[in-house]
């Protein structure tokens, strides 16, 4: 029995070590953000020479410094504009999805009427279509509504994405139908049942959709790349990679700051994230 226990601990340690290797890139970014310009230049020399030799990297820099953070936070107001762009677009998309998607998920989860299966099938198909297939359609609508090169061009199509509906649906499906029947017999209206029973009890699915949605839209690239020409409207996710290697310290700091909200949501929303992944796997 004792031997079995030991084996278990060893396997666990192995898994944890693999996990730490997987998370390595974060440590690299953090280290880079506190390295001095001279250190950075030395370490990144192979990159400048276009792939001769290998990058050497230290986990703890010899002379840690926060000079780049200072420069980023106090001398580059543009950075805040882009950070705010990311926040605003992500926030509005999630709010819109909540307003539109939650009732839709409720409709699919609770009411089995003629045609509802077919519509749900349509929603699944739409959920699985990659951006590239719907890019031209979105472009045509957005140009007709003269929304191109405004942030609404990114926000509106995302609000009607069917992916969060699927996750929220998973949460509502877990509720027993008898509960609603009982409420109906007691004379409750359908809206009342949704607001007073569905929303509080089906929170899990909604929070899953929120966590997965935040990580997705905080990271969005395809939509702003296609529909936003004006750099001042860009989200951070599109702007960051444009910073050149000559400003490496700045780029690392900006990366760390961009990481923070995502890591924050990941940590507080971990259980819902995992739940959401499992919901995404449930089907009708």
């Amino acid at each position: 029995m004792k031997g079995k226990h030991l084996v278990e601990i060893c396997i666990k340690l192995l898994f944890i070590m693999m996990g730490i290797v997987i998370c390595m890139p974060v440590f690299f970014v953090i280290t880079g953000s506190v390295m001095g310009s001279y250190d950075l230049e030395e370490c990144l020399a192979p990159v400048f020479r276009e792939g001769q030799g290998f990058v050497t990297w230290k986990l703890i820099p010899d002379y840690p410094t926060i000079e780049h953070y200072g420069k980023l936070l106090f001398q580059t107001p543009q950075f805040f504009v882009l950070f705010w762009n990311s926040m605003r677009m992500t926030g509005l998309i999630l709010a819109g999805q909540l307003l539109v998607g939650v009732p839709a998920a409720w409709a699919f989860a609770v009411y089995q009427v003629r045609g509802s299966r077919l519509l749900f099938g349509l929603y699944i198909v739409l959920m699985l279509m990659p951006f590239q297939v719907t890019m031209l359609s979105s472009y045509l609508v957005l140009s007709r509504l003269s929304l191109l090169n405004t942030q609404l061009a990114v926000i509106l199509p995302a609000v009607f994405s069917t992916f969060p509906i699927f996750l929220t649906y998973g949460g509502f499906r877990e509720l027993p139908a008898e509960l609603f029947e009982a409420a109906r017999i007691d004379g409750a209206g359908e809206l009342y049942i949704f607001l007073r029973i569905g929303l509080p009890l089906g929170k899990g699915g909604m929070l899953s959709a929120f966590v997965l949605g935040f990580l997705e839209y905080w990271n969005m690239l395809e939509q702003p790349l296609a529909f936003l020409e004006d750099q001042a409207l860009w989200p951070l996710s599109l702007y960051l990679p444009q910073i050149s290697w000559t400003q490496a310290g700045f780029a690392f700091c900006a990366s760390v700051i961009m990481l923070l909200p995502a890591v924050f949501v990941f940590i507080i929303g971990q259980d819902y994230l995992e739940q959401g992944i499992v919901y995404a796997g449930l089907k009708g």
């Binding site: 666990k12 898994f15 996990g19 730490i20 997987i22 998370c23 890139p25 970014v29 990159v47 276009e50 792939g51 990058v55 539109v100 009732p103 839709a104 409720w106 409709a107 699919f108 009411y111 009427v113 509802s116 519509l119 699944i124 198909v125 739409l126 699985l128 279509m129 990659p130 590239q132 297939v133 890019m135 031209l136 359609s137 979105s138 609508v141 509106l156 199509p157 009607f160 069917t162 509906i165 359908e190 990580l215 690239l221 395809e222 296609a226 951070l236 599109l238 702007y239 960051l240 990679p241 690392f252 961009m258 990481l259 995502a262 949501v265 990941f266 971990q270 995992e274 995404a280 796997g281």
Partner: protein, 263 residues
Amino acid sequence: MRRSSAIYRRKRRAFAGFLFCSLSGVTVFVLLPFLDVIKRSLTTAVTGDFIGGVNYRRVFENQAFRLAVQNTLRFTGVCIPLLVILGLAVALPLSRLRETELIKSLYLFPLALPTATVVIVWRMFFYAADFESLVVSYIWRNLGYTVVLWVAGIKGIPGEILEAARVDGAGRLQSLLRVELPNLKGSFYTIVVLSFLNSFKIYREAYLVAGSYPKQEIYLLQHLFNNWFVNLELDKLAAAAVCVGGVLFVGIMLLQYFWDRER
């Protein structure tokens, strides 16, 4: 059977009410414009004259399109089986351990990292931006949820079935092959669908590391769509969107068919 009872009518009304916003949005932003795309794929870009399948022929004869289709198929053909098998290889021992929250968090963590912030690390190590580096970064990002799904599937197998197999004298391997794997078909479909959905997002890494015109071996359909879009070659883009959309539609339908038959 006539289902015109008051309750049914009430449910139908509620269904329509709750779905209204979403369905009108989907109609305006996706369905109607896609009909427009189909129309455009059959007409000339400038004058709008009907030209039948000419755009489609131009797309199929296009060298860049062929290359992109080939590369995309190769990428998904390599990545999805690799991800599914790796995920299972991690999940099988992991599902037998207790208190695995920390391990799962570590594996899921890449999902939370914005591509823009890891690209800077990718550019340090993978400046080659070749096929292999795309595969590595895809597996790196997607392994976590694959493991979570497999573990959820394995834990969902009723204990009695495994117990029964053991009583009948099945060994470890036999029980895995004959009992566990057949019970995991649902998880398998889910994982394949989600990994496929996410395989299109590898464009983020590819684009941010290597731009619009990367090495030939990683020129994907996503690059092609984006470049045609930027160059306003909308007639070809329409035909290509209809083709790719159509192929995916058939694929999804087949998958749903098998999925439903499985139950």
